[in-house]
């Protein structure tokens, strides 16, 4: 057999790049697709969670006796039902899913109930008496860092400092990245701009609330149906929290109604399992939207200082950023990634970024699409824009002059391979949008963005069925059309029509471990594994044909869905189709399947440039987005519709973040806008069409050149829109969201000054 195993970045494709209908399409337009809350089991109970109304309080006692007496209540769990795990990775998760000695945020779970009906469960929650001792709280990142701020965790000392801290602090850790000598660099600059920025916490805003259905017996054998970005992660974490053998818990990923990073951890899943074990009946739990806002997600709110210097001819000489991210009640804000990505778009001799991970009395942040990067890019790209305009240079020209390219030592360390940033900038320059005229009160903004993209653990199984069609099992939940992409890659590699492949997301018992669908990794890593599994199957099919023909296996090649003699010397045999090989598989050695397991690396980084026009109403401060263009490197677009969809979706989440969305806390430390009415995500009438330009600078780490596309698209919008609004309003906006009151205030202050 002869297989191409080298990187085939220049290869021509038959099916990759086409736009077939997704395999789960019909189910999703007819209402048949089963999401987290769409499952039932016989004898099923309904579970609900009692949550703290206080942002910070000691939980002195929990009295469940009156609730337990209510007819129909079958199980109640509290902190007493969860032993603190030994695994240090699970400690914070354990304390987050169910408060221990203290509640740390408004919405923190304190008890959960399973009852025969939702109404009884609701009544039971009212009967649980929790005695709190209220403590002072802090929800703002800068306030939380001040000496004298209420301390969330006794014994927490800041890590990564030059001298060992002697006092407890809400600052978990300091991160530092960079190279060169920034002091020296700033001295070489003709112009230096330094600005401070703030961004509000925003929620991932998936339309499907968290939901699961748990069924587990006293023997520790169980099943869990759940909407998640990673059912293997859910299995491992829940098994750890409940003290189960990992193999005894089978987790099935439902269809998932959006995740954006927010479904990469657990909340109600271990509670449902614990209730089910206690009641010995299936328990279904579905969060309300109020709970989703108060107790899951959001991303960090931030406070940032950025300083950049450049020479008169437009060369950046030094760049410095200090980022302060609060990540809610537990360690782990994405500030390290914010600090690593902040200056990744630029080729810099002297660069330093410092990040502080801070805890506050808010829900523990969860990953949100390119975690940490959009905020850092907002601050950096705002200063870049101002520098360019002070230098009298075009923003795109200034960026092109300083852009990172192949061979650039990145601001976070590693040297870049082939990357597409300059291509996105050049294409932006020549794009019609960049040349379009603007009217009164209108402004144009541009910004660049970067994301690493991940790879990771992946396991794929591809089974040849007796009729020659293919069943492909992957272990990465499909959050945006990945089954279509996997089917395309398998079909391309095998040389069969797309509709001869059916891709499913298999449960945790059916495949080896798969990392979470996160970090824009799925089309890259599961795609790579799919291609390799197809090649594995092709090798076996060639072997069967060779047996039938009585020639050596390496004298058979695979071409367009057929095993063929590799050359004239191999003999004159009629090519065998997959269907023919499949039909006689049982007579030639048994079933045929291809497998691939890998901890993949080589996910190529990606870059984007966005152009946006906005109009500011000087009377009301309202911002309207008029036109939006995304230019992004996809490496290779497997299914361009869904690549465009990622570009458009990222841009629009960014629009919401930039102009509307924010977590608003009152003086009492309670979230004031825990609903879609007051936490307003963009709606159709707020928006124009989102134009997209897919660029393809192949990633040498993937057989087809794929780079992740999901996250980079949300990195530039905050900055691009801030630049656009600042140009339209005639005053620099440094705080998100740029809601009408903030824009009006900025205009007012500017006019007075």
């Amino acid at each position: 057999m002869s297989l191409q195993t080298e990187t085939e970045t220049k290869r021509s494709f038959n099916q990759i790049g086409t736009r077939p209908v997704r395999p789960d399409g019909i189910d999703k337009v007819t209402g048949r697709a089963r999401f987290g809350a769409d499952m039932e089991m016989p004898g099923m109970l309904h579970g609900l969670v009692l949550r703290s109304p206080h942002p910070h309080a000691k939980v002195k006692s929990i009295d469940i006796s009156r609730a337990a007496k209510l007819a129909g209540v079958k199980a109640i769990v509290t902190r007493d039902d969860f032993k603190m795990p030994k695994d240090k990775d699970l400690v914070d998760i354990c304390a987050n899913i169910m408060a221990r000695d203290k509640v740390l945020y408004d919405g923190h779970a304190v008890a959960a109930v399973a009852a025969t009906t939702k109404a009884i469960a609701r009544e039971a929650l009212k009967r649980i008496k929790v005695e709190y001792e209220i403590l002072p709280h802090v929800t703002d990142v800068d306030e939380a860092m001040k000496p004298g701020a209420p301390i969330l965790h006794k014994g927490m000392r800041t890590g990564g400092m030059d001298t060992k801290p002697r006092k407890d602090s809400n600052v978990v850790k300091r991160y530092k990245f960079g190279h060169g000598d920034v002091e020296k660099g700033f001295k070489q600059a003709d112009i230096v701009i330094e600005r401070s920025f703030k961004t509000a916490a925003t929620h991932q805003g998936y339309i499907e609330p968290h939901a699961c259905l748990a069924s587990i017996g006293p023997d520790g054998q169980g099943d869990l149906w759940v909407c998640t970005q990673g059912h293997y992660m859910v299995r491992n974490v829940c098994a750890g929290l409940l003290g189960l053998d990992v193999s005894q818990l089978r987790v099935t990923a439902s269809e998932i109604g959006g995740g954006f990073g927010g479904k990469t951890t657990v909340f109600i899943e271990p509670l449902a399992l614990a209730l089910s074990r206690k009641a010995n009946r299936p328990v279904k739990m579905v969060m309300s939207r109020d709970e989703v806002f108060r107790a899951t997600g959001p991303t960090s709110s931030t406070s940032m200082d950025v300083k950049i210097g450049a020479t008169k001819d437009g060369r950046i000489t030094a760049a410095h950023a200090e980022l302060r991210f609060q990540g809610g009640a537990f360690a782990g804000s994405p500030v390290s990634m914010g600090a690593m990505t902040a200056f990744a778009c630029y080729d810099l001799k002297n660069v330093q970024s410092i990040g502080y991970d801070v805890v506050t009395n808010r829900p523990k942040q969860a990953a949100y699409r390119a975690p940490g990067a959009p905020m850092a890019a907002f601050a950096v790209e705002s200063v870049i824009d101002e520098l360019a305009s002070k230098l009298g240079m075009d923003g795109l020209e200034f960026r092109i002059l300083n852009a990172a390219g192949e061979g650039t030592k990145s601001s976070y360390g590693p040297t870049f391979g082939p990357i597409g940033l300059k291509t996105t900038l050049e294409k932006a320059k020549s794009h019609a949008h960049n040349k379009a005229k603007l009217g009164k009160n209108q402004g144009r903004g541009i910004a660049c963005g970067f994301w690493f993209n991940f790879a990771g653990n992946t396991c794929v199984s591809l089974n040849l069925q007796l009729d020659g069609t293919i069943a492909l099992s992957v272990g990465t939940p499909d959050i945006g059309g990945s089954r279509a992409s996997m089917s395309l890659m398998a079909a391309e590699e095998l040389g069969v029509p797309y509709d001869k492949v059916r891709t499913i997301v298999a449960d945790t018992a059916s495949l080896g471990y798969n990392d979470v669908t996160d970090g824009s990794r799925t089309t890259f890593a599961a795609g790579l594994a799919t291609i390799e599994a197809a090649r594995d199957a092709i090798g076996k099919m060639c072997g069967r044909a060779a047996k039938v023909w009585g020639i050596p296996a390496d004298a058979v090649k695979w071409e367009n869905g057929y095993a063929k003699p590799a050359g004239p010397n191999a003999g004159a045999f009629k090519p065998m189709s997959m269907a023919e090989i499949a039909a006689i598989a049982h007579k030639t050695g048994g079933p045929i399947a291809g497998h691939y397991e890998i901890n993949a690396d080589g996910a190529g980084v990606s870059f984007a440039t966005h152009i946006v026009d906005s109009e500011v109403d000087p009377e009301t401060g309202r911002v309207t987005i008029l036109r939006y263009t995304v230019l992004q490197d996809a490496g290779k677009a497997i299914h361009p519709d869904y690549v465009e969809g990622q570009y458009q979706g990222g841009a629009v989440q960014g629009i919401g973040w930039a102009i509307n969305e924010e977590y608003i806390y009152g003086e009492d430390g309670r979230l004031q806008n825990a609903g879609f009415l007051d936490y307003r995500i963009p709606v159709a009438s707020d928006l124009p069409m989102i134009d997209t330009v897919i660029l393809e600078i192949p990633n040498p780490g993937h057989p087809y050149g794929v780079r992740g596309v999901g996250e980079t698209s949300i990195v530039p919008p905050l900055a691009a829109i801030a630049n656009s609004v600042s140009n339209a309003a005639g005053v620099r906006l440094t705080e998100l969201p740029m809601s009408p009151p903030k824009v009006l205030k900025a205009i007012g202050e500017h006019n007075r000054a």
Partner: protein, 81 residues
Amino acid sequence: MAKVILWGSLKKAVGGKTELELDVSDVRELLDALGERYPKLGPQLDAGVSVSIDGTMVRDNLFVAIKPDSEVYVLPRMAGG
């Protein structure tokens, strides 16, 4: 000897310098060498790191080769959305 660069916050744990020359041929040897020579790195290594070898990001995989002229960056463990 591969050039190994640690991210800034680890400077103190490795005695003030962040750039090391290490004779290692794969990720396992790298992590072992760091742990043995600089015990103060222990907690960070336990917490998990990402390693970039000549620009390619590697996570957990111990047997990825490091060449004598490789440029290796040790970075915090990353999570995505």
